[in-house]
Amino acid sequence: MKDNERYSRQVSLKELGETGQKKLASAKILIVGAGGLGCPALLFLAAAGVGCIGIADDDLVSLSNLQRQVLFSSKDVGKSKVFVATEKIKELNPYVKVISHPERLTTENALDVIKDYDIVIDGTDNFPSKYLINDACVLLGKTLICGSVSKFEGQVAVFNVADKKNVKCNYRDLFPQPPEEKILNCAEEGVLGVTTGIIGTMQANEAIKLLTGIGEPLINQLLIFNSLNNHSYILEITENNESYQLPSNESEFRQTDYDWVCALATGIEEIDATQLRTIIEENETLFIDVREVEEMPEVNFKHQRIPLSDFRNQIENISADKIVCFCQTGKRSLDAARILFEKFGETKKVYSLKNGVLSLHD
C-alpha cells in the first residue's frame, strides 16, 4: 500500500485490517447517477480506497442540485457531472482509478458498461433506469445496491447476492413491474440533502461490508429509514418468480423497451399520429424536432428543431406549457420528453410522438 497513513484509521479497525483494505483496493464499483445518492457514495468509497470507481451520468450540474449533490460547487453549474465528479475524486484520492461514463445507461450500452465492475450502486432517480439496471445486473450476475428516497424516507437493499439459503433476489422480487401511476421524484415532491446523504452513505456502507466481508449486509432485505423520527424498518424479501419475466439473454435485454414500460410512471404521455393531428389544430403547442439538423424527412407543421445532442443547453428559455417532442422513430423524443419533465416537472405537459415521424407518412 503506497499511502499507509491515508487509511490508517480504518485499517486499525480489527474487523477490516490490512486484509480488508486490500480487498477495497482491488474492488471495482460502478455508481450510476452522480446525484443526491451517488455523490456521498462516491466520496466515501473513494476516500476509503476502493481501487476502481466508474461514474455513469449524462446530466449537467444545475443550481438546484447543489443543496444535496455535495461533490459540486457553485462554479460547476452547467458542467458535466461526470467530468466534475472525476476531477473531485482524483483530488480527494489520486490512488483511485476513476472511469468516466458520461452517458445515460440504455439497453444499448448498459451491459457493456456494467460487465467490468463487481458492484453496481444505483443512485438514479427514475424507474426506467432502476428496472433497466436491475435487469442488466441479474443478467450479468452483478451485485446491485439499490437506494431511493421519497421526501424524508429512504430505501436501501442489496440484490443478486446469495443468502445463506443460496437464494438471490432482485428488485423485481420486491416490485415486479414499474408502477402504472405516477410516482413523484425529488424534483417534484422535494427532498432534504441530508436524507439523500444518509441513504447514499448507507449504500456506500453496504458496499464496504460486502467487499470486506464484515457485518450483515442487507442481502435480500429492504431497509426503510425515516429521517424525521429515525425509525428503521427492515423487511425480508423472498423470491417471486411468478409475477415477472426478466430478459433471459443479451438480445432480449436489448429489445426490451424500458422507457415504454415506465412512460406512464414518469408522467410523459406518448401520442400517436392521430392525436398529434388533433394537437396541431389546437394551435397552442410547441412542437420540437429533436433529430439532428440534417435529418430528413421534414415535417409540414410549424416546429423548432432542437437536436437531442444539444437539448439540455437549449431548453432554458422554453415558455410554452404544452410541448410535443418528435424524432424519427419515437425513441429519442422520449429521452427529450424525459429531460423536459425532469426540468419542468408538472408545470408543463410533455408529449412524445410514438413511432416518430416515420409513422406520419404511412
Binding site: 421519497s150 429512504g154 401511476e181 413523484l184 415532491e189 426503510i224 423487511l235
Partner: protein, 75 residues
C-alpha cells in the same frame, strides 16, 4: 391488527400507523382497506406480513404486523 404505511401512502392514510380489525387473509385486508381508503386502489405497493414481503394471498396470524410499501424513485 397494526398497519405501517410508508412513502406517499401516508398521504392517503394521513398517518404512519393505523389499527384495523383483524382480517382472515391478505385479500380480505386489502378489500377492507380499499373500501375505507379508495385512493389506495390506484397505488402500487408491496405488502409485508410480520416483516416479510409476501407475493400471494396468505392467511394472517392474529395481530400480525402489516406494512404497505410503495416504490420510491427519488435520488
Amino acid at each position: 391488527m397494526n398497519i405501517k404505511v410508508f412513502g406517499q401512502l401516508t398521504d392517503i392514510f394521513k398517518q404512519e400507523n393505523i389499527a384495523v380489525e383483524n382480517a382472515v387473509d391478505v385479500e380480505e385486508l386489502k378489500n377492507h382497506l380499499i373500501n375505507s381508503y379508495p385512493a389506495l386502489r390506484e397505488k402500487a405497493f408491496a405488502i409485508a406480513v410480520n416483516k416479510k414481503i409476501i407475493h400471494k394471498n396468505i392467511s394472517l396470524p392474529e395481530n400480525a404486523e402489516i406494512a404497505l410499501l410503495p416504490p420510491f424513485s427519488g435520488g
